[in-house]
Symmetry: C2
Subunit: 136 residues, 2 copies
Amino acid sequence: MKSSPLDAAVAAAAALGHPARLRTLAMLRSGELCVCQITAVLELAPSTVSAHLKDLRRAGLVTERKAGRWVHFGLAREPAARAWIAAALAAAGDDTQLTADARLVAALRALPVEDLCRTGFDRTALGQDRAAAAGP
Amino acid sequence: MKSSPLDAAVAAAAALGHPARLRTLAMLRSGELCVCQITAVLELAPSTVSAHLKDLRRAGLVTERKAGRWVHFGLAREPAARAWIAAALAAAGDDTQLTADARLVAALRALPVEDLCRTGFDRTALGQDRAAAAGP
DNA sequence: ACTATAATTCGCGAGATGACGAAATGAAGT
DNA sequence: ACTTCATTTCGTCATCTCGCGAATTATAGT
């Protein structure tokens, strides 16, 4: 397997060239997330999200950490990866979609992971107090 | 027109996610080039190169300047574009393909454009002093 | 006008990509 | 062992991408 620097750069750029993957990277800025959390935000099938995360990992943009039943993903810490992500997110800037995702992620983090993965996430509860969302 | 910052970033990344387009951007670091010059280096059909350049232009990574019969392309000067290109070329680093392309471009620039576009470029003319370095 | 030619557009075929649901995998909890 | 459930893998389908050659457009020179 010969993977030239050019191929690596092309792979990284291609991985960034999809809204779901770019949104995922933006979400991970606030810390690690498990697949079900990312799935809840993107509103895609779990298998689809898993495939996207696989792409990001193969491009070296993301790290994978298995913790029991869940798999947590985080931003890769290699300089090349950080440069790519910085460039991409600087270009995306203050996109409304990304900021909405970030808000949703913040709400998600306040919930126990188990509840989220089981039931999905009720997006209508966002505007209100988080305690209400944690209720019945 | 519905072009969010996220869409723009995705488009830019997708444009970078192809070896021919990334090689083109690398070539343009040394200055403007016309389509036939880029075609000579990439060794693709003119229609294919034209399509790639269209992609790069629509992504805002490249500028187009018509000068008589020829169309000259150069790197876009917008900050966002420069950031993308810098990130990509830093990641590609000192790729052998890119350096070979750069050498070929240098030779091309020494020729009058008319001769090049007419006959294509005889790559064996480079062979005298460069074939050993370029490999078989 | 006429020709030559740089470049683009068009149409097509082959292959890659992205979405999904169903089934398989693997780690906890009972 | 059995069940539960988060995640992945697999099969499939629709769509997009990339390459080419042929036809078209546009500009320069005669």
